[in-house]
Symmetry: C2
Subunit: 444 residues, 2 copies
């Protein structure tokens, strides 16, 4: 569904007419994707070739970092037009992530109406609902009829971000409930609006966490979620497209953290090599320090190793398998927490389940290990390897599943309990298990 | 946002009145979550306590496997009511995943209208758009006025899954384009509808892949996506709530695969221990077989190991670090492919980027390794360890990033290139690098 002859080919051919044709023929999100992949100079060049209104559409599809990349390359006229046409919530997100002097330049260029809409959003925390909500909405009065409500939608609707979820308020702008455009359109005109209002409709505070609000919208299948201030007055609405984007960003972050890397914003191909390395090195440093534990364990057992070198042969296999089992359990637990299936109180139940899963896995793998080790070395080492697998797998599954839940109990993002972190911790303890069993079986 | 005194406490207290109150007070998605967490008997018991219409709402929030769990425990009257009230697309999904005799019993119990709506959906492949689309929609005629269109929405709307995205068709039901309810409501009644129609609006075939269609909706911010048959006639519509669910399921699958486990359907806590073990064991078997490569490498270098036992001390640290770097690169690549940022043609560009990232990481970690190894052993082993880190990290990053893209080129799901798979492959080659460097530096 993306174009196969991308911008690259047309640019290489220096075919400006073809390029303009391509830019005009493809939907905004496809063009945005190409711009994000390109370097700054190319992106700005192509952006200039877009028709004025299309440019705005394409711009809205870009991530904040890519938007900034393009804005920095534009001269003032186009710049002003693009920023003026953005939705206030998108603009707030762009400004919130941009350097201060850049943000000031953008704000200064805005018309007073747009500036008035944007400034309050910037007052909220980076991850608060307030940053992502749209302040442009249609508010209905609780005492109107359906006909009056529809009339109001027609008047105010053209400027609103959505008209499908319609917050209904009393005289002091307090949220009474929500009516959907669907019900308003389907109802007889003379009916009092209040009869259509769902007073139990979920609502969030502008200071609430944005990801949590987005997940609520997903679970309850909402197209819009009214946002209120601390006095229950409506200040905005969170729309489903922003919620989807929030969830995708959160999932991408979780995925990165699971692999032991800090999330990097922006298109994968447009992020610099140094920034990628920086996002990954912190965890690697911590992990290599944790890995010295394994080196310490091996040094403690160096006597045994010197006596039976064949024991060393199975070290990577054992720590690898233990790590894999731990990583599976940790990943399953982190995901179950993220989608709301697990709570902190479940830790004992989860650990006991995973202990049995790990035992089953250990028995299955122990048989394989027994065969492999018998073929490669001798029977007693095979027994050691296979017993170790059973114990290491059970232990790894318990540690892997319990750690994310314990982290959450301590108020730490469970996704930080990455597969590599679990693996590294399981490695050291797994080696201790291995050498203790070796001592017993081989009589060292 | 979820209840803290859950069903469990009320059930333990045998407090049926309190239970009924709790079930009536909480929104459907919260109740559904509690039912999914409970065992079959409890879930069915609680489900019976729900008011008739609420039962349907709660039921729709459940995953197909959990729906089946509850239906199997219900007697015929409630059973028929619940299934009759489901949306045809949800019903098709439930039936598609249930055993054949169960599915037949359900179909047989349906009214002829609902059966006629469900049966065609079952004709599509498990992962096709046809399974997820809703056949109940509002079709507008291209030659109507805005007033006529609105009239039709009022007549047909109550039965349709959505009225916000309105496909517009010609006399032979061919898709001409799409009008949004927003534009229809805001436009003057006498205006010809065709002037509001977006003829460039995306569309998909019922046989297209459902996940791809859902990602398209996400990228283009659509609330509904018209679905056509091979002759471009409208057969249904995919709605944003189904798209979100599709994406969440696909992401959960990717996450599981990334950790080297097959995805397991259903609530984490309601899935049996044996099913969990089965989902994970296949990959573990493959991985332990791949890990014999590392054992083989070590056996080949057993002479060197016997001579300098201290070399063994750093094996887990080196293979662990290499594995971590490879896993980071693989995870980043898999995610970038999933969200559409990378294509198969990018493999050389990606490998070269990651090679440089890996080199930077290797240099950073090499310094740490040098210090650690000097403290723990002696200078020449430290040089070996630190040189190995530089080479292993560069190599791991290249392998980790290139493999998912190569997999995709071969038509394999890139998420199958899990972190453990990359780790295991990098382990063996990393050991070869280590011992070759050791031979050169230590003169073995």
């Amino acid at each position: 569904m993306t174009a196969d002859t991308g911008l690259g080919d047309l640019l290489d051919g220096n075919d400006v007419a073809g390029l303009q044709q391509w830019l005009a023929d493809h939907p905004p999100h496809v063009v945005a994707d190409e711009l994000a992949r390109a370097d700054e100079v190319t992106a700005v060049f192509c952006f200039r070739l877009l028709a004025k209104d299309r440019a705005v559409e394409v711009f809205e599809e870009l991530d904040a970092v890519d938007q900034q990349k393009i804005l920095e390359g534009l001269r003032d006229q186009t710049f002003r037009h693009v920023v003026e046409e953005m939705d206030p919530d998108d603009r707030a997100r762009l400004l919130g992530e941009a350097p201060a002097n850049f943000a000031q330049r953008v704000l200064a260029g805005l018309s007073s109406r747009e500036r008035a809409l944007t400034a309050p959003l910037l007052g909220y925390e980076q991850d608060a609902v307030g940053r992502y909500m749209s302040p442009e909405l249609v508010l209905l009065k609780e005492r109107s009829t359906v006909a009056e409500a529809l009339d109001r939608v027609r008047r105010v609707g053209p400027d609103a971000e959505t008209v499908y979820t319609l917050p209904v308020v009393d005289d002091r702008r307090h949220l009474v409930g929500v009516a959907s455009l669907r019900e308003v359109v389907l109802a007889p005109p003379a009916r009092p609006l209040i009869e259509l209002v769902d007073t139990e409709f979920p609502r969030v505070y502008a200071t609430d966490n944005a990801e949590t609000a987005a997940r609520l919208m997903q679970e309850a299948n909402l197209l819009g979620l009214p946002v209120v201030d601390s006095e229950e007055r409506v200040v905005g609405i969170l729309t489903v497209d922003d919620a989807i984007e929030l969830i995708e960003e959160a999932d991408t972050e979780d995925v990165a953290r699971q692999a032991g890397a800090e999330p990097v914003e922006g298109h994968y191909l447009s992020v610099g090599v140094f920034r990628l390395a920086r996002a990954r090195i912190i965890w690697l440093f911590l992990l290599i320090l944790a890995a010295t534990l394994t080196a310490g364990v091996l040094q403690a057992f160096e006597g045994e190793l010197a006596e039976v070198t064949a024991l060393a042969v199975f070290i990577p296999l054992l720590v690898g398998t233990g790590g894999n089992v731990g990583a599976q359990a940790a990943t399953a637990a982190v995901r179950a927490i993220a989608v709301g299936e697990l709570r902190t109180g479940d830790v004992a139940r989860v650990a006991w389940r995973e202990c049995r899963v790990g035992f089953l896995l250990g028995v299955g793998l122990g048989v394989v290990g027994m065969v492999l080790a018998t073929v490669m070395t001798d029977g007693r080492i095979a027994v050691t390897v296979s017993l170790s697998l059973v114990l290491i797998c059970s232990w790894a599954a318990v540690v892997g599943s319990a750690m994310p839940l314990l982290a959450r109990q301590l108020g730490i993002d469970p996704a930080v309990i990455s597969a590599p972190l679990v693996t590294t911790l399981v490695d050291a303890t797994g080696l201790v298990i291995y050498f203790l069993i070796a001592r017993a079986v081989l009589g060292l």
